[in-house]
Amino acid sequence: MNEFGFYCVTAALVVAAYAFLVSALAGKRADPVLAQSGENALIGSFVLIALASASLISLLIHSDFNNEYVASYTSLDLPLHYKVTAFWGGQTGSLLFWTLLLSVFTVVVVFQNQAKNRELMPYVCAALAVVQSFFLAVLTFVAPPFATLGAARPADGTGLNPLLQNYWMVVHPPHLYLGFVGFTVPFAFGVAALVSNNLNPVWIKTTRRWTLVAWLFLTMGIFMGAHWAYLELGWGGYWAWDPVENASFMPWLLGTAFLHSVMVQEKKGMLKVWNLVLIILTFEMCLFGTFLTRSGVVSSVHSFAQSNIGSFFVAFIGGSLGISFYFLFRRLQNRQLEPEQRLTAFFSRESSFLFNNLLFLGIAFAVFWGTVFPIVSEAVRGVKVSVSIPFFNNVTLPVAFALLALTGVCPLIAWRKASVKNFNRNFLYPLIAGIATIPAAMVFGVMQPMPLLFFAASVFVLATVVWEFWKGTRARQAARAESEQGESWLRALYLLVATNKRRYGGFIIHAGVVLVFVGIIGSSFFRMEQDFVMRQGETARFKNYSFTFQSFGQRREVNKEVSLARVDLFRNGKKLATMRPEKHFHFKGEQPQTEVDILSQFDEDFYIVLVGWDDKGAATFKIYINPLVSWIWFGGFVMALGTLFVMMPNRQRRALARTMRQEVRHAA
């Protein structure tokens, strides 16, 4: 099976390289036969990569410790589902997983475009084949997943890192990778448009859903990772500006900027160059994120050890960036990317989108710069420095505030030029609501300027969303009343939203973003924590909670020993739950693993950590009260729901388009 997997990877590399050459030639010669050959080769490459992946999974399931990867990331006592998910638990496996996802997406693109975009497709296939070839080359020559140990084969494997033996760690990497890999498709189309000189906005329309899907998975992946950190790392927080966390956040920021600015190109024919720059940077940042995670160049709790793939990634990122920008500059020089209209007013939706992009890029650059600065400092001056939570918070928070405020302004300001009338109609009431939040929050004891500003901005944005739904529903009802059709409020709201999913789905996503911001501010600025040393039977008090340490015990499981405490929790005298914080001692692990217990409520989380115990029956608990944390997870859920809503097909529009096509055919 090892040899079979190795041959599949090597063959896939050859086939992908063939696909690139043939597709590039097909584009240059406009040869449909060559183009078809290239597409078939990509399908063949997918089959080979799928077989290689199946081989590795089989080796993992059967605990074949002759395979170096299997021996490094599994053990005999590892539960079966973790043996399977170890596929993406280590470096080489995760690179093969990346390649598998890319090959699947490539095949989908090929089938989706059998009858359209035929001029672009050879170049798209060439771009996708190049990326595939790169990853396959790394897997063949640098980080092979089918390396064998031969005589050094151990009787048992090292096992999977205990931190990764968790539900969220099972689902978090695939979601992130689906996001990273998903952005390859709009990138490929963008580069194809540049290289083929086919610069009409077809490539944007074609890849809109791909961009949304990639963004959705990346968003969910980031939230899952944060949730995992909250549950598993035991420090009461969910985001530590770890380099690998930043590696997923940066492409998300750029992808979000891209999603917004393509709307301007679709509506007004502007920002053509900017959108191409954005999608190139988004894709490169996805590669950079993979490079950061895998190379260990900046040490991080996520890193899986320094490796030798870093230089190959740097070379590929540099090369792909160089080629993409070469073609972009060529088209610029030939004035082939002129906008159809120009931006002519500061106070317009177009300019607000541009400023929104500026802020997204500003935050992305700040995060990038903070992440790489330790490397820069060591390279330039030979001095090691750290860049941690305080830096990122101080630099990104002010910009994030401006972005939040703009989230309320952008969707409602008029295209071309806003007027005082437009301002009064759309912003007056939300602005009043936002400003009124400040004294109201102060009544509740919020005195710090930053939380006050963020809460005010959040209420402003939420109010614009509610106001927009309200105005639209009222307008629809009024229009129906004039034509004497009549419509209930609920029906008017449903039809308003159903016939304009993109707009109102966007508002739902913005509402989700606001919830996330509120949760972050609440949990960051108002968190309380305290240590308690308690004997069994003792009760302690913290805020309006009381908790009684009932018992302490230990149990043995297949691959670990578990020490757990039982603590009864009360709030205002009423019993809420029995909390069971634990400490796990994996037989193959070096460090004990903290398993916290959390009671999530609407207003705050009660978070308890079993820190330690002695043989006299006393235990130390660390208690965190984290206000509004559940709003973060709920906000993420709302964002995902909004995105799915945006992606839903618009039945009315499709029916209309079908009718128009039929009429055209009859006329012809």
């Binding site: 770890d242 007013a345 500026l358 330690g612 115990w613």
Partner: protein
């Protein structure tokens, strides 16, 4: 497997000492001494002096990086044994009257600038702080300049159009294609 241990025997030892009859006072003293020596390992090195608040400790530990190898978590959030020991050290130094700057200097002298959670705002490291804001500022200025240019272009074009619609059309100003059409039609006529 090293769970942290905390001794709770000191207060009990004191109670026992004052409630035992005379001949057993010596035994009580020995017991007390034993408790004290056990407590020394788990309590911060006691120093009489300034009371230390949680906020003071938090201010410092949230700006120090835990050097346990976890990545770049701050001491205040890492939660490992190294972080716990650092927190106790900071408490001791604060109670000894050391200033915040002196405490930071202590860790920088021991481990280098890598001990600080952010680069100091001076010298080469100032670039870390300035560049992101400079980038946004430069981008903003560029954007505003570009929009202004486009606005001026539009104003100029509108002024030209207004002038053209106000003045009577002269042959010289006539569209060249229109001129050519007229001349070709004239040949036919």
């Amino acid at each position: 497997m090293q769970p942290s241990r905390r001794s709770g025997c000191l207060p009990l030892a004191v109670v026992r000492l004052f409630h035992r009859p005379g001949p057993e006072v010596a035994g009580g003293l020995v017991f007390l001494a034993l408790c004290l020596s056990l407590s020394v390992g788990s309590l911060p090195a006691a120093a009489p002096g300034k009371p230390v608040t949680k906020e003071q400790v938090q201010e410092i530990t949230s700006n120090l990086v835990c050097l346990c190898g976890c990545g770049n978590k701050t001491v205040s959030v890492c939660g490992c044994g190294v972080a716990d020991a650092t927190i106790r050290e900071v408490e001791t130094m604060l109670s000894q009257g050391k200033t915040v700057d002196e405490i930071f200097a202590h860790y920088v002298n021991a481990s280098g600038l890598v001990a600080l959670a952010s680069p100091p705002k001076k010298g080469f490291n100032l670039i870390a702080w300035i560049l992101p804001f400079a980038g946004i500022l430069i981008g903003g200025v560029f954007l505003i300049g570009k929009i202004r240019n486009w606005q001026s272009d539009l104003d100029r074009r509108e002024a030209v159009l207004r002038k053209a619609s106000a003045a009577p059309a002269s042959p010289a100003a006539e569209d060249p294609y229109k001129q050519r059409l007229n001349s070709e039609l004239g040949k036919i006529d």
